[in-house]
């Protein structure tokens, strides 16, 4: 019984630290405000030194187009690091699809970033403990200890993780931990021209982000995986993958 409870994480000291910590970073995305400019992606890549031309990113923006027949098209060309410069949908393998405007019933953008889950499966599966969660909820990677097995990449239901193209260790969004630790905002939040991205402390009753999450209808991405994601969305449609 003890073993079972232990496996379930009941006795983890890190949980106790998290309960007693006055800080729990959360993120709020207002999808109605996102205009798909891609400044967030560009800022993130530059800030976190992810090679700009490499086709991996800590954050990206998705475009969804829904037709009258209920067909859903989605793409994120080059993670939207240059924004959405063409109206046609990228289907991969060099193919594109133009959807006539009159057929489109709705279209919207969804920014994606690491959910800093309360029960992160990436932390659970790391065999060496190189991926760990801080008491403030942010999941970090120890680049000097990661062996590069890729198990965390496989375990993340959100596809947030990748191998850093140069360092060849697991990499992911950490809410720009080096910045938020010094009271600054993450690069993507700072670069967003419309305020679609916001960061806050869910444990601070006076925090505007906490206020929105507690008082408005917000949703999280893929709650069915039981990871308890901590990036909240306003206007998250059921079409979102």
């Amino acid at each position: 019984m003890l073993l079972v409870k232990g496996l379930d994480g009941i006795f983890r000291p890190s949980d106790v630290q998290a309960w007693t910590s006055p800080l729990r970073f959360v993120f709020l995305v207002d999808t109605y405000k996102c205009i798909g400019c891609g400044f967030c992606v560009k800022a993130c890549k530059l800030e976190n030194e992810i090679p700009f031309d490499a086709d991996v990113s800590r954050t990206w923006v998705e475009r969804y187009v829904v037709t009258g027949e209920g067909e859903v098209f989605a793409d994120t060309p080059k993670e939207a690091r240059y924004g959405f410069t063409a109206s046609r949908i990228d289907l991969g393998r060099g193919k594109f699809k133009d959807i006539p405007r009159e057929k489109i019933k709705k279209a919207f953008f969804i920014p994606k970033l690491c959910n800093q889950c309360a029960k992160p499966s990436c932390v659970q599966v790391c065999p060496v403990g190189a991926t760990y969660q801080n008491a403030d909820g942010v999941v970090l990677v120890d680049r000097k200890w990661c062996i590069g097995c890729g198990y965390c990449i496989m375990a993340c239901p959100y596809g947030m993780r990748f191998f850093h193209p140069v360092l060849r260790v697991a990499d992911k969004c950490n809410f720009c931990y080096h910045r938020i630790n010094h009271g600054l905002r993450p690069a993507c939040v700072q670069a967003c021209p419309t305020g679609a991205r916001q960061i806050g402390n869910i444990k601070d009753p006076g925090d505007p982000v906490e206020n929105v999450i507690r008082t408005q209808q917000v949703a999280v991405h893929k709650p069915e995986y039981g990871t308890n994601p901590q990036v909240y969305y306003i206007g998250l449609g059921e079409e979102v993958r």
């Binding site: 991969g92 403990g129 596809g159 060849r168 260790v169």
Partner: protein, 416 residues
Amino acid sequence: MVQEALWTVKELFVYPNEYIYWAIQIVMYPFMTGLVAGAFVLSSLYHLFGIKPLKEIARFALVFSFTLLMVAPLPLLLHLTHPERSLNVVLTPHFTSAIAAFGVVLFVYASVVVSELWFLFRKHLVVVSLKLKGKANKNLAERIKYFLYTILTLGALDLRDASMKLDAKAIKVLAGVGVPIACFLHGYAGFIFGSVKANALWMTPLMPVIFIMSAIVSGVALCVLVYIIIMEIKNIIASRKNVTTTFIAFKEIKSEEMNTMQVAVKYLIFFMIFSISLELLDLVFRSYTAVKSWDILRNVIYGTDFINIFLLQYILGNLVPFILLLLPGLTVRRAIPALLLVLFGVFMMRWNVVIGGQSFSLTFSGYMDYQLPIIPHGLETFKEGLCGALLIAVLPFILFWILNKIFPVLETKWPD
């Protein structure tokens, strides 16, 4: 440049960071550990349950299991982007991870196999050591051999009946302990996949059991195949000389080989039925329950991976050898292609799990195609390409050849 992009082609809506991260080496990993477990189970059928016709192959299977075991961690090492840090798994094991216990499981299993090998070959080691000890004017090679064998005896030179009986008892105990550990080693490899909740194809509690059954199938098939081939080579040599060979007469080899083969194949068929039933159960269950992920899984199973799954794995790798082995009057000529197809079938099963599980996106709206690098352009495409896989496949045979020099498996007539 993202290295995984070298072998991944994306189609429709796929998240930007998604690639085939677990490539051919991760296909080789469960394939090799499967062979280890299967070979050990085969050897235990004789040592534990005393199935006499399997006596010769049991000894061979144990040594072969050991050589496979030495190679089994290599695919993982080749797969790691930082293999120089691989010891971190032992230094700071994070036990909530299914991979963390790999070092422990492998070490425990290796200890059992090495101990059993030692008890099995102790008499041989002692005999050779004493023979060389008594010899005057040893040359350099003999001196090295004497040194090696003396060390390997660990000073236990007692060959009296009571001592040999104790050895036999130890072998039986180790074989008994080894079977669950061998199954655990491979069931554990299945758990590594089966517990990934993000992957709709992998996540099933049946995965460890499916892996164990297919492991036994592949291990038995490989041992029987190699055994037959070695015996056939001996036959050819014996028939050419047309005289009694050093150890066993031609006809004796032939009848012994046929008997061993037929008994081993019966066990192989038995495990194949289990393995295929479980895999089909998984497939039927998925299609019947048809949860959210079924739409994309159906497209993968019946669409993009149809040839790999149904044609190559189920028909060519399972059905055809099954019929070939079941038809009465099994001959060596029929057994060899059938066993090769069984091995191919299990390999394709691993391929379809590892690569198939990554051939659809987490979005459930896109696909990824794996293009195995054939000609290496650099270290990455060598490691994660055909050459790396072939290296892993060939290594056990080279090691076996070397080990056979110390533990002569197939050359000596052994007492019961």
